[in-house]
């Protein structure tokens, strides 16, 4: 029954994709409807269909809404399937007679899959609410709906199938379907060469990652008989082979998840897709990669080694710090959000690394704590990153730009959006009362359990990682202060943002509202999710959280009440009380209750202009100075001099370009190597037939010599 729900979710998303293909079939549909209305004149439905829904002008939007409605239903089903399987704590398996003759597609639906189903479901549901309003602005000429809808459906179906897959072959099919479909979505607005480049980079890295995953499975499979995950679980690997498999899986899944230094596709690809797709990619697809890694490491590889945990820990720390530092420097809103995804994935990896270390050292309970923190953060990140991407989409929709330096003052013009976006910013900055804080708090709690370990390396490494995590959180707050402050506060920096209006489409706002509401809800009642997660930890690690109170509605106390506790609801009540008292008390005098509106202080020069405000690069300048080594900074200030002795400055041009270190260090050498290798190889084909004959001749001689040995 639950499995049927899951299948139905997949099928509906496929159906949504296919229905998008009907965009150009209106005449055929109309003819069909007319034929039916002639056949069944008593049924009003068909006539109404042809006169109303299939009418020339209305058809496109009807179809769009239909496609998104199907997608939304798929989301709802995914949520219910996920919840059902987690609540009933079942493990469902099934086989579908597709695939290879001796290897049908194996399906398995357990708590872990269910949890990620839930994540995807929520995201898909909100996206489908948001979508119709968002794509309304796309002209059918330039940005046809058919491929967009088709690949969105395929993309969602691919992600869901990855979660269901229970054999390596099917897993790869679903995985690649997800990658390819999202590639087409990234390339959707392909008029811009930069977008094409991003799409190519994305597909290339997805392919490399997929190959690495295949190889990882291959290593496992060569010690097992068969490709089903059941068979792979039985594989007995030596430590070194297991480590190779782990490394391959890490490379593959890490590439998709976007950990530093294999993250470069992410900030390129995510921003260029339409916003609701970026939301799905950043909010959900990365989580599927996390799922893959968890499945591979904690489920398929029987034994984990602490060295792997250290690798994850280091990579996670690097990604978290690198991601947020790069994010800070961006002035493209979606690019910034994409980098911030790198950061959050880093946090997840870091905590997973902790879980692995505890697991390998024989503390499954603490490992469960880590795993839980990681999963919770994945969940939370999906919520707030979706919210932020969709919010960015709204802003883009209204002011037709993504450059932060074109924005400003939107809080007055778009009050609802700005409020919801603020919730997202607070969540992602992990401020108390919001969901981001809970997972971060759990991450710290996990790290603080380091004293149980014996190994000196670990004992000193983990605190450093925790410190880096703290730095990351603080920088994230700085980053999102910048985002919110520059986008919504202050004065408008361009005519477009001056003229901006609140978005009218209810669906778009509703999507944001749902996500913001969930961010807040799970910030106050984190136990709702944690209670769902506990059985997963038990399933994977054989242990759940030690403390029964961990899941009580009021307190969050993962280890023991003595060690740490957090009661967000009490905090909320106290805040409301304190603020309320202050508010009432201070405004009791009716004379001073109203505020006097005046001009802002302008140092007496007169006339504040928006150009006097801090810009994105100005805001981050101190950080840029402090962490200068992290980026490749190209900063130029050109002054146009004027006057007799050229001492007056007529105008100043400031140019700033910030680049990833990874490009020149890692990627360009590879590109260069392949190109020069190709050039070398090209030299064998000279165009002269006598040389070619010579090749045949020499080959023949050599081969004859070889076999006569």
């Amino acid at each position: 029954m639950v499995l049927i729900l899951a299948y139905a979710a997949v099928l509906l998303s496929l159906a949504s994709g296919l229905s998008a293909l009907m965009m150009h079939q209106r005449p055929a549909l109309e003819a069909l409807a007319q034929a039916y209305s002639r056949l069944f004149p008593e049924h009003r439905f068909f006539r109404r269909l042809s006169t109303h829904y299939l009418e020339q002008n209305r058809y496109p939007s009807t179809l769009r809404q239909g496609a998104f409605a199907l997608l939304g239903m798929s989301g709802v089903l995914a949520i219910s399937a996920g919840l059902a399987v987690m609540l009933t704590q079942q493990v469902l398996t099934d086989q579908i007679g597709l695939g290879l003759p001796w290897l049908p597609w194996h399906m398995r639906f357990d708590g872990l899959s269910g949890f990620f189903f839930l994540i995807i479901g929520i995201a898909v549901l909100t996206v489908s609410l948001y979508g119709p309003g968002y794509v309304e602005a796309f002209s059918e000429d330039k940005q046809p709906f058919a491929p967009l809808g088709l690949f969105t459906g395929l993309f969602v179906a691919g992600m869901l199938l990855v979660l269901l897959a229970d054999d390596a072959f099917f897993f790869m099919i679903a995985w690649e379907a997800m990658s390819v479909a999202s590639y087409f979505l990234v390339a959707f607005q392909h008029e811009n060469p930069a977008n094409r480049r991003a799409a190519f980079l994305y597909l290339l890295m997805a392919e490399v990652g997929a190959l690495s995953i295949v190889l990882g499975f291959g290593v496992l499979a060569s010690f097992a008989d068969g490709f089903t995950f059941d068979a792979l679980r039985q594989a007995h690997l030596s430590t070194s082979w297991a480590s190779i498999a782990f490394a391959l899986a890490l490379l593959g899944f890490g590439m998709k998840a976007g950990i530093v230094p294999i993250h470069v596709w992410l900030p390129e690809a995510h921003p260029v897709a339409p916003s609701h797709i970026s939301a799905l990619m950043s909010g959900v697809m990365l989580k599927v990669a996390v799922y893959g890694l968890i499945r591979f490491c904690f489920d398929l590889l029987v034994e984990v080694h602490w060295q792997w945990g250290v690798v994850l820990l280091i990579l996670g720390t690097l990604s978290a710090l690198g991601g947020i530092l790069y994010a800070l420097m961006q002035s493209n809103l979606k690019r910034l959000l994409a980098y911030s995804s790198v950061e959050n994935i880093g946090v997840i990896f870091l905590v997973l690394g902790l879980a692995m270390i505890f697991m390998a050292n024989g503390y499954p309970q603490l490992a469960a704590l880590g795993l839980l923190a990681a999963l919770l953060h994945a969940f939370n990140h999906a919520l707030f990153k979706n919210l932020l991407f969709l919010g960015a989409g709204v802003v883009q929709h209204q002011i037709h730009s993504l450059d932060i330096d074109d924005m400003g003052g939107l809080i007055k013009r778009m009050p609802k959006t700005s409020f919801l976006f603020l919730v997202g910013c607070m969540s992602i900055s992990s401020l108390p009362l919001f969901n981001g804080f809970v997972s971060e708090w759990l991450a710290f709690q996990t790290a603080l359990q380091v004293f149980v370990l014996d190994n000196g390396v670990l004992r000193s490494l983990i605190p450093v990682a925790a410190a880096a995590l703290a730095l990351t959180a603080a920088l994230a707050a700085a980053c999102f202060v910048k985002v919110y402050g520059l986008v919504f506060l202050g004065l408008p920096r361009s005519r477009n943002s001056e003229k901006a209006k609140e978005v009218e489409d209810k669906g778009m706002l509703l999507a944001l509202e749902i996500l913001a509401g969930l961010c807040f809800l799970f910030g106050i009642f984190p136990s709702l999710v944690i209670a769902l997660l506990n059985p997963i930890a038990r399933q994977l690690l054989g242990q759940a959280l030690p403390n029964a109170e961990a899941t009580s509605w009021l307190w969050l106390a993962p280890v023991t009440m003595d060690q740490a506790s957090y009661a967000p609801i009490l905090v909320l009540i106290s805040v409301l009380m304190a603020a309320g008292i202050a508010f009432r008390y201070l405004r009791r005098n009716p004379e001073t209750k109203t505020m006097r509106r005046t001009e802002a202080w302008d140092c007496g020069f007169g006339g504040l202009t928006p150009r006097m405000q801090y810009s994105s690069s100005a805001f981050t300048m101190p950080i840029r100075r402090i962490f200068a080594k992290v980026w490749l900074i190209d900063e130029q200030i050109n002054k146009d001099m004027r006057g007799a002795s050229e001492l007056d400055v007529a105008s100043i041009h400031y140019h700033l370009q910030i680049q990833d270190h990874c490009w020149p260090r890692l990627y360009q050498p590879i590109v260069h190597a392949i190109n020069s290798l190709a050039r070398q190889v090209g030299r064998i084909q000279t165009g002269n037939i006598r040389v070619y004959l010579g090749y045949s001749f020499v080959t023949l001689i050599v081969m004859l010599w070889v076999v006569s040995l």
Partner: protein, 314 residues
């Protein structure tokens, strides 16, 4: 009963915060051969500000006008979870030390937003600098605090203090490091010399003042009060974590009075020391602050490492 004490203690915190900053100013004046204002001057200032009608810039949005309340209540909340005169504090369970840092972050987030809201250059400058400095200070603070929490194997502040108390007089190298780290962070976070100068309004050097330049009336009062609270919070943290002696462990009237006296004494001495330091040291350039804070961070890390490597009993 416990909860009542907790509420009273919080109110005490809020009430005494201006006094502490007045004491600090007093000490400083004394050291600098100036005539000190009355110890009650901050209260008078607050009352006067509250009575005034606030003037708000035209561009300001609700963020600007609501932020003072949010900041103030975040600080009040922080005050409610830091043991002042007794460790028997039920509120500490609802928010541990990490959440405490979270409260600070919360307040800072809105303060920085408020700075950006009006759209003047000063606000942006202040916010930018504040976020930079705090993003360096926050990890240093967490490091220092983690040293304590790992020693006590709890992040609950009251329990941690109790642990230190019960352990008796133990000389821990890690605590020395952590203490210095925390002091450095506290100076940075509360905007004291050498990181920031609370008395300056020179545009190019100010940080905290730049953000609140546009505030007036009750808004300004709340923000000033909140920053006084913050100063006191840091003071109490330092005093009670590293020198918890004197704090009440049970709820007797006598113990509570002793606790109050003890903390008053500790804070008085601490602030006097701060005043001396502020008198002796000059303000740093902005881009020296990173060195200062990374030193604090290093100290915190060293404290943590020395705890884990030297002291942990395994």
């Amino acid at each position: 009963m416990n909860w009542l004490i907790a509420v009273i203690q919080t109110m005490l915190f809020v009430a005494l915060a201006p006094l502490l900053s007045a004491w600090l100013k007093w000490c400083k004046c004394l050291l600098q051969n100036r005539k000190a204002p009355s110890l009650l001057q901050p209260y008078r200032d607050l009352i006067k500000l509250i009575r005034k009608q606030p003037a708000v810039a035209e561009q300001a949005s609700w963020i600007f006008t609501r932020s003072p309340y949010i900041i103030f209540s975040a600080m009040v909340l922080a005050a409610s979870v830091v043991p002042l005169i007794t460790v028997d504090l039920p509120t500490t369970a609802s928010a541990d030390v990490i959440v405490l840092v979270g409260f600070f972050a919360f307040a800072r987030f809105f303060l920085a937003l408020a700075g950006l809201d009006v759209g003047t250059a000063f606000g942006g400058m202040g916010s930018s600098r504040e976020m930079t400095i705090s993003s360096l200070a926050e990890p240093a603070m967490l490091m220092a605090v983690f040293t304590l929490t790992m020693t006590a194997s709890t992040t609950n502040l009251a329990l941690a203090m109790e642990h230190v108390l019960n352990e008796g007089m133990v000389l821990r190298p890690s605590f020395v490091f952590a203490l210095f780290a925390l002091i450095l962070v506290a100076i940075a976070e509360t905007g004291r010399i050498p990181v920031d100068n609370p008395a300056t309004h020179l545009e190019l050097t100010m940080i905290h003042e730049a953000m609140i330049l546009e505030y007036s009336g009750r808004h300004l009062a709340l923000i000033e009060w909140a920053s006084q609270l913050k100063l006191m919070l840091y003071g109490v943290l330092i005093a009670n974590i590293f020198l918890p002696w004197g704090i009440a462990q049970a709820l007797g009237a006598k113990a509570l009075v002793y606790g109050l006296l003890a903390i008053a004494l500790k804070l008085a001495v601490l602030c006097a020391l701060l005043a001396i330091a502020e008198t002796l040291v000059a303000k740093m350039r902005l881009f020296r602050v990173q060195e200062y804070l990374s030193f604090a961070y290093l100290l915190g890390l060293l404290g943590m490492l020395s705890h884990i490597i030297l002291e942990a009993s395994r």
